[in-house]
Subunit: 152 residues, 2 copies
DNA sequence: AATTTATATTTGCCTTGACAAATATACCGG
DNA sequence: CCGGTATATTTGTCAAGGCAAATATAAATT
């Protein structure tokens, strides 16, 4: 075919589409990195483990909010990750409704293997940006996010 | 509760998470805008109509690639949008395997109503950025996308 | 021309995530 | 303390998307 209009994303693409494309590539890249290590983890699960590894034990709801995941979906992700031995649901000391989600030894060990994946992909993604440009990109995205959240 | 670690996305968040958050807010914002017009369209469907309106008739595969959607998912979206009378599947003139997807009158009229939603949300999103900064953001994202695609 | 290989679309199957209801517990005003 | 409201987690239901198989056609190779 080759008859239809040619799409050149980086030139006239609107911000919305562009951000979607970048995110999709980032997810693909990280999942590919994980796969090359012979591990079987989705991006969402990767994020959950990362949060726990970086920020320490927290509530399921806090975890859900921090990765933009629905509470119900989080329950099922926790089922899987707990079933595979990567984390534990402990009772919360001050609130009997809540859980304290924490990594197990196995989970921490897994994270040691994963820790490079994110950095490698992010480094590859930003390799054409100078240090100043990276900071600007981060700054701009932060301001855009803030503006969007203010808006409603 | 309020016992867990506090998440401050815009400060130390990694690029991957940040982009995910921005995209989620953009989608939410546009769907909300569409809803205020009394219309019933998901973000994906909005994107499909937009592509067709902006770039003219094209193949289902081209459409799918341009919005990062699986071919099978595209078939089903086309079923819905065709069923609601917004587009048509015409035979492709040079390739009998392919389709030529084009907007109907109804679809074009719908797009007239929708055309402001995207701009309004994007304007709100970028309102804290100067003209130069908007161009830089666009440029950086384009370069990041290019780098990610080169990488593999 | 025949055969192989690649591509476009559709369909079936399965997983994931959103939304809503149910349950348990916390918090707050009286 | 009691009642009402808010929050945490779980579960059911459903729609959306990814992947693979099936079919049809195109393109390339022998």
């Amino acid at each position: 075919m080759n008859t239809g209009p040619l799409v050149t994303p980086t030139s006239q693409e609107s911000l919305g589409v562009l951000i979607g494309l970048v995110r999709a590539e980032l997810v693909r890249g990280i999942e590919a990195e994980i796969a090359t290590k012979g591990l079987d983890l989705r991006f969402t699960q990767f994020l959950i483990l990362k949060r726990l590894a970086m920020l320490g034990p927290m509530t399921a709801t806090e975890l859900a909010r921090s990765v933009e995941l629905d509470g119900g979906a989080m329950t099922r992700q926790l089922d899987q990750l707990e079933g595979r031995g990567f984390l534990r649901r402990c009772p919360h000391e001050q609130d009997r409704r809540a859980l304290r989600i924490e990594l197990t030894e196995t989970g921490s060990a897994l994270w040691q293997q994963l820790t490079g994946c994110n950095e490698r992909v992010l480094e590859a993604a930003q390799r054409s940006l100078s240090e100043v440009e990276r900071e600007r990109l981060h700054d701009y995205l932060g301001r855009v996010l803030h503006a969007l959240r203010e808006n409603k």
